[in-house]
């Protein structure tokens, strides 16, 4: 099964002729993702790694039946790309672009809510369902099909955890980054609902970081509604207050959003929190062996 993407995924790549779009299209095709189309306005008719390029998402969807989109366009154009994908009837949009203006996202998320379209990101490393396909920028070789779902606010830190799980002899159902920005399309709870319903997923690793209160709300949700074992990690225990730690959303402000608060919230509902990333694999193993 897996969540979000699987063997029914037909992908259109927005910004396919750019440096990142083109490179990762090659990587995705190589991994086995069914990349059916690319879009760059004015470049319709070209091909990238054998994938046909269209001028608009509407055409791409009409011709190829694409149902999922991944966005590699520069930050200033990301909102427009998301609207275009949503209006063209794409069901799932995965936005990799980093640095999208926060107010653009406030409008986008309101619009999509009313349209019933799911957005992952922006500032997401993408989604990988090992054995099916990968969408985004994650390195494919570290994955192995298995029963652990991974959801994270980070990119490379997630790979670290994936790697640890794979090296510990386990595997992943679906792994995704929800993005490090303040306003994002799907939050931890949205994704946990999917993991809850996915028979392949037997445990979940939740990788949070400083800033906001998403982890605290997620802890409450897990206590009330989530039926599978969860283990956690929080990045930024040593982060000073008032400083943006790379991600737009990773900032301790007005004393709220600290790692300590989040760890406390997790532990209060029985979610063990790893001290260092590699421990996550051990914690999951313990949970699953019970």
């Amino acid at each position: 099964m897996a969540i979000l993407i699987d063997d029914k995924t037909k992908l259109v790549v927005q910004g396919i002729t750019g440096r990142d779009g083109s490179f990762h299209t090659g990587q995705m095709v190589e991994y086995g993702t069914n990349v059916v189309a690319g879009v760059t306005p004015g470049k319709g008719g070209q091909e990238v790694h054998g994938v046909p390029v269209f001028d608009t998402v509407e055409e791409a969807v009409k011709v190829t039946g694409a149902n999922t989109s991944v966005i590699y366009v520069p930050a200033g154009f990301a909102a427009d790309a998301i609207y275009e994908a949503a209006d063209a009837g794409v069901e799932l949009i995965i936005c990799i672009s980093e640095g999208v203006p926060t107010l653009d996202m406030a409008r986008v998320t309101y619009y999509l809510k009313n349209k019933g379209v799911r957005l992952i990101g922006p500032n997401s490393p993408g989604v990988t369902s090992p054995g099916y396909c990968k969408v985004g920028i994650m390195p494919g070789h570290i994955f192995r099909k298995g029963n652990v779902g991974i959801v994270s606010r980070s990119g490379t830190l997630t790979y670290e955890v994936v790697n640890a799980i794979t090296e510990a002899g386990m595997g992943q159902s679906t792994c995704l980054g929800i993005g490090g920005d303040q306003i994002i399309g799907s939050n931890f709870i949205d994704i946990l609902k999917l993991f809850n319903d996915d028979p392949q997923t037997e445990a979940v690793a939740l990788i949070g970081e400083i800033g906001g209160t998403a982890e605290e709300e997620t802890a409450k949700y897990i206590e009330a509604h989530f039926n599978k074992p969860v283990v956690g990690f929080i990045a930024g225990r040593t982060a000073p207050p008032g400083k943006r730690m790379g991600h737009a959303g990773a900032i301790i402000s007005g004393g709220s959003g600290t790692a300590a608060d989040k760890i406390k919230a997790f532990e209060a509902v029985g979610i063990p929190v790893a001290d260092i990333p590699v421990q996550i694999a051990d914690l999951i193993k313990q949970k699953l062996s019970k």
Binding site: D20, T102, L103, G212, T213, G236
Partner: protein
């Protein structure tokens, strides 16, 4: 990106928000010259990007030229929380009859801007939130509709009773929202928003933070940056597309990805070391970026060792390896480098790094422990 009070007031004033027209001086002489045109009672306010200016003695009243010269002399050059005051704002004083609060921020939960008002103005809103939360009124704003007249009216009526004051305040709320949206702000605040003894309303202090991600839409706002008050290395990092935060330890960190960079700092601390910085070289890293990153880290005399931690996704390990070698050759790095590379083009990177002075490690834990060991012996 934080703006100074006078910059925030300029923006608000051009939007139509009532602000007493002030001017900025960098010397006592300038302050006096400004006062000559202004007369009456004025306030001399230090312009620095830190809070608590009043308590630190950075805000003073003056009623004649001599006083203005004295106060300006005292404040200019003063140190407030580590920042040297280089500018003062001279503005007519307001005879405050009532102090209220109006602020707009982005709320992650409702995924929208939220307007907060409080009749308890003049003090830190977080204080009010803690001590008298019933005095804070909030309205989430639909980002497509903006502030509706009925919302502005309802919020304004929490601050004043007089119908004319309610009407003017509603207008200020609407204009402040316009300022917030037009500049892609992450905070726009008037604290205090005051009624004077004649019933007139004034934005007595003003604060604007701009969304760094929004600057792509407003390149002209780049000129409002206050580089004076920033740490030079952080400025250099930003200009090179890096994300850098200076800390107090002795183990320099260079990592790709913000989450992994935080986790690297955390693991250094976990094993008993002290990170010297947060440094995210981002995705798509070019050798030039790595060189700049190395330069920034080694500028810090506290740094005794560098821990490089790269997990390749977009970032290619061979790019990073090349960058480090180039940096070594060009910059002449004097401190040992512990290096962990894994992910895309990992093999190529390993080849590039073989036969160099770099210390390869197989994992984050090993890298952190090795770095701490080196730091302790140097």
């Amino acid at each position: 990106m934080k703006l100074q009070e006078y910059q925030a007031k300029d923006i608000m004033e051009s939007a139509g928000i009532p602000v007493k027209p002030g001017k900025v001086a960098t010397t006592p002489q300038e302050a006096v010259a400004i006062y000559r045109e202004m007369g009456g009672q004025v306030v001399v306010k230090s312009q620095v990007l830190v809070g608590g200016r009043g308590k630190a003695g950075g805000i003073k009243l003056a009623t004649n030229e001599t006083e203005v010269r004295e106060k300006a002399s005292a404040i200019l050059g003063m140190d407030i929380k580590g920042i040297t005051v280089k500018k003062v704002l001279i503005a007519p004083a307001v005879n405050i009859a009532a102090e209220t609060y109006i602020g707009i921020v982005i709320d992650r939960k409702t995924q929208s801007p939220v307007i907060m008002v409080s009749p308890a103005g003049g003090i830190d809103i977080e204080e009010v939130a803690k001590k008298t939360p019933e005095k804070i009124f909030m309205t989430a704003i639909n980002p497509f509709l903006g502030v509706l007249p009925y919302q502005a009216r309802a919020l304004a009526s929490k601050l004043f009773q007089d119908p004319a004051q309610i009407k003017k305040t509603a207008r200020v709320i609407t204009l402040l929202y316009q300022v917030f949206v037009d500049n892609d702000a992450s905070l726009a605040e008037i604290n205090p928003f005051c009624a004077d003894d004649t019933g007139e309303l004034w934005a007595v202090d003003a604060k604007i933070l701009l969304d760094d991600n929004g600057l792509v839409k407003h390149p002209q706002n780049e000129s409002l940056r206050n580089l004076d008050e920033e740490i030079p290395e952080e400025v250099e990092a930003r200009n090179s597309g890096l994300s850098f935060v200076k800390l107090d330890g002795n183990i320099g960190c260079m990592v790709n990805g913000a989450g992994l960079a935080m986790a690297t700092m955390d693991i250094v601390k976990y094993f008993g070391g002290e990170p010297a910085n947060f440094l995210d070289i981002g995705g798509s890293s070019s050798p030039e970026k790595v060189i700049t990153a190395m330069n920034i880290i080694t500028n810090d005399p506290n740094v005794k060792v560098i821990m490089v931690n790269i997990f390749g996704g977009i970032t290619r390990c061979d790019d990073v390896a090349n960058g480090i070698i180039e940096a070594h050759n060009k910059v002449g790095i004097k401190v040992p480098i512990v290096i962990r590379l894994t992910g895309t083009n990992e093999e190529e990177a390993r080849k590039i790094l073989s036969d160099t002075a770099l210390i390869p490690v197989g994992s984050m834990s090993e890298g952190a422990q090795k770095a701490i060991e080196i730091a302790q012996t140097r």
